[in-house]
């Protein structure tokens, strides 16, 4: 061993960032920097860990739920659900300042309860909401910000892929984590809508009001259109919390029901749509899960280099209050969130941080929820913010600079939520405590 552990880890992290910057697919960047690190730490024999690590992580039973929730979302998406959700929210928020922005956030919140991934949400809602807002004279940043930021609610409001990943690494219960995300998710949605309304009231230029009116009949008709999907959410989440099914089983049955609904209620289940549903499910799941397997190669390299112990020793040895350490960790996570995508960030830091967090006396369930609120920021912070680029790819006429400016206020809101959750842990732990 020629290089010290610390130097190897530093070089591997550097290689990871360089590869990501070169547009190497993230799963390749993670595994190749893990491989390079293992080679330096233990020679060619160290590479035997690669298939073991990837195979082990991808066969964690908790992950079974991931492709199934994606399938559920995709099966509903072909019904035109995005348009219907936005249409319904628009009819109800039309008298509110910044009504379209508030509608976008509300429909993202609802879709977030049906989907586990934030990019689907941004793509689906953004495609409807942003052109609509632009055509009515909304400032581009204001329009894009509301969608890019609220799209991330899908990660916090159950079902959530991020909680499934956290459970697969830590062994925490998926059902408890799902329950933990509900209050912070709804709180965040409320804060976001509050911001849009206040901002539009104070600065009407950014979101001009239109005189459009809808009758109550139209409003209820719009609700009627999305009712089957709303019933499905209630069934899925209800079956988890009544104990009828585990989160994984609820995903499978929910997906099956979504197919039934798409075929029988909406009559949209032709051969073309069936192919589309399965092709996009395979694309989204495999792209996401490839990162899961590769992140584990990278973190196993960190384990071999003894990073988790070193970090725990360092953190525990610090002569400061645990809350100071916690705030420090949050700030580091925000910085890392600028550079790494959400799934990789969660998968890489969880095995390193959770031992230290437990040693400091914090609840790993609560920390999991806190971590996902951090990821809400990570997906909208440049330079690496997946929602921002999804937004750009869905509405190409947007300027990236406008999008960046538009999301800034949401970062402040999310940081405020983190502080609130640290001050009042019950925001994340009260609901889970009811189910166990």
């Amino acid at each position: 061993m020629i290089l010290s552990h610390g130097l190897v880890v530093a070089l591997a992290v550097l290689l990871l960032l360089v590869l990501i910057a070169m547009r190497t697919p993230i799963f390749i960047a993670l595994s190749v920097s893990g491989i390079a690190g293992l080679l330096c730490l233990s020679g060619p024999d160290g590479l035997k860990l690669v298939p073991l690590a990837m195979g082990a992580q991808l066969q964690e039973y908790a992950l079974v739920a991931a492709p199934l929730y994606i399938l559920l979302g995709e099966a509903l998406a072909v019904t035109g659900l995005g348009r219907d959700l936005f249409g319904a929210a628009h009819r109800w928020f039309t008298r509110v300042p910044g009504g379209l922005g508030a509608s976008a956030i509300a429909s993202s919140t609802l879709f977030g309860a049906m989907s586990g991934v934030s990019i689907s949400s941004v793509a689906l809602i953004g495609k409807m909401a942003v052109p609509e807002m632009l055509s009515r004279g909304y400032r581009p940043g204001f329009a894009a910000g509301s969608v890019a930021a609220s799209g991330a609610l899908a990660m916090l409001i159950p079902p959530s892929l991020m909680f499934i990943l956290y459970a697969s690494v830590t062994g925490e219960s998926v059902a408890s984590l799902f329950a933990g995300g509900i209050v912070p998710g709804l709180l965040l949605a409320t804060l976001m809508i509050g911001y849009v309304v206040v901002r539009a009231k104070l600065n009407p230029d950014s979101a001009p009001r239109d005189g459009e009116r809808f009758s109550w009949r139209e409003r209820w008709a719009a609700i009627g259109k999305i009712t089957p999907a709303l019933v499905l959410i209630v069934l899925v989440l209800g079956s988890i919390y009544t104990g009828f099914a585990t989160p994984t089983e609820a995903a499978a049955i929910g997906a099956l029901l979504a197919f039934a609904m798409t075929g029988l209620v909406y009559r949209k289940l032709g051969w073309q749509n069936l192919k589309l549903i399965f092709a996009s499910t395979a694309t989204v799941s495999a792209a996401m899960l490839a990162i899961v397997g590769s992140a584990f190669v990278f973190t196993q390299m960190l384990v071999v280099a003894r990073v988790p112990e070193s970090l725990t020793d360092f953190v525990v040895g610090l002569d400061v209050h645990p809350y100071v350490v916690l705030i420090g960790i949050m700030l580091v996570l925000i910085l890392l969130g600028c550079l790494v995508d959400a799934a990789s960030l969660l998968l890489v830091v969880t095995p390193i941080l959770v031992p230290a967090i437990e040693e400091l006396g914090f609840d790993p369930l609560w920390f999991g929820v806190l971590l996902v609120v951090n990821l809400e920021m990570a997906v909208i912070t440049p330079p690496v913010g997946l929602n921002l680029y999804t937004m750009k790819s869905v509405v190409p006429e947007l300027d990236l600079g406008d999008i960046f400016r538009g999301i800034a206020p949401y970062l402040a809101i999310e940081f405020a939520l983190i502080l609130l959750m640290i001050a009042v842990p019950g925001t994340a732990t009260y609901l889970p405590s009811l189910i166990t």
């Binding site: 547009r23 659900l81 395979a282």
Partner: protein
């Protein structure tokens, strides 16, 4: 000749990807069946759990080479986009090299794993046990295909071919709704 080879490889990767899609459907059906068996017959299966654990690996790993060949993996192009063309080509070459390296490592170490698992008769630990050489072989095969596509499909070398081969774009959800 090269085009011919590319099409041939694409048929292979696409078949694996279709297998991944079918597997997703089977996961949905088998788990739903397991729930029904548990409530209706009080007889949950002992195969749903181990088979679906391995199915996640299959769903992921089988689709990886096709997603690479068709440019569907998650990557970040902010820096890349602002590079001068010459550096951009260097970056693309580095990506191709990294992909090939991962493919090679997975193929070789995956193969060694197959040998150990098969030789020792290793299986999972339930009353229905999946022999470990099967997931190991899936990893190994996926690695071999990744190596192939890394060599045959350098990033953006043949955008028109990649486009014809592409599956559904995740950003197109509900596009035809």
């Amino acid at each position: 000749m090269l085009d011919h080879l590319r099409r041939l490889v694409l048929i292979g990767t696409r078949s694996l990807a279709v297998l991944a899609m079918v597997t997703t459907g089977l996961m949905m059906l088998s788990i739903s069946y397991d729930v029904i068996a548990r409530y209706a017959f009080r007889a949950p299966t002992d195969w749903a759990y181990p088979l679906n654990s391995s199915a996640v690996l299959a769903v992921t790993v089988l689709a990886i080479p096709h997603l690479y060949a068709t440019g569907h993996h998650i990557s970040m192009d902010l820096v890349h986009r602002s590079l001068p063309p010459k550096l951009r080509r260097v970056a693309d070459a580095v990506t191709a090299l990294a992909a090939a390296l991962l493919g090679l490592v997975l193929a070789v170490t995956g193969f060694q794993t197959v040998l150990v698992s098969y030789g020792h008769g290793l299986t999972g630990s339930g009353t229905f046990s999946v022999p470990l050489w099967i997931p190991d072989l899936i990893l190994c095969a996926s690695g071999a295909f990744l190596l192939l596509v890394a060599v045959l499909f350098p990033p953006h070398a043949e955008p028109e071919l990649a486009a014809t081969a592409a599956g559904a774009d995740p950003a197109q959800d509900g596009a035809n709704a």
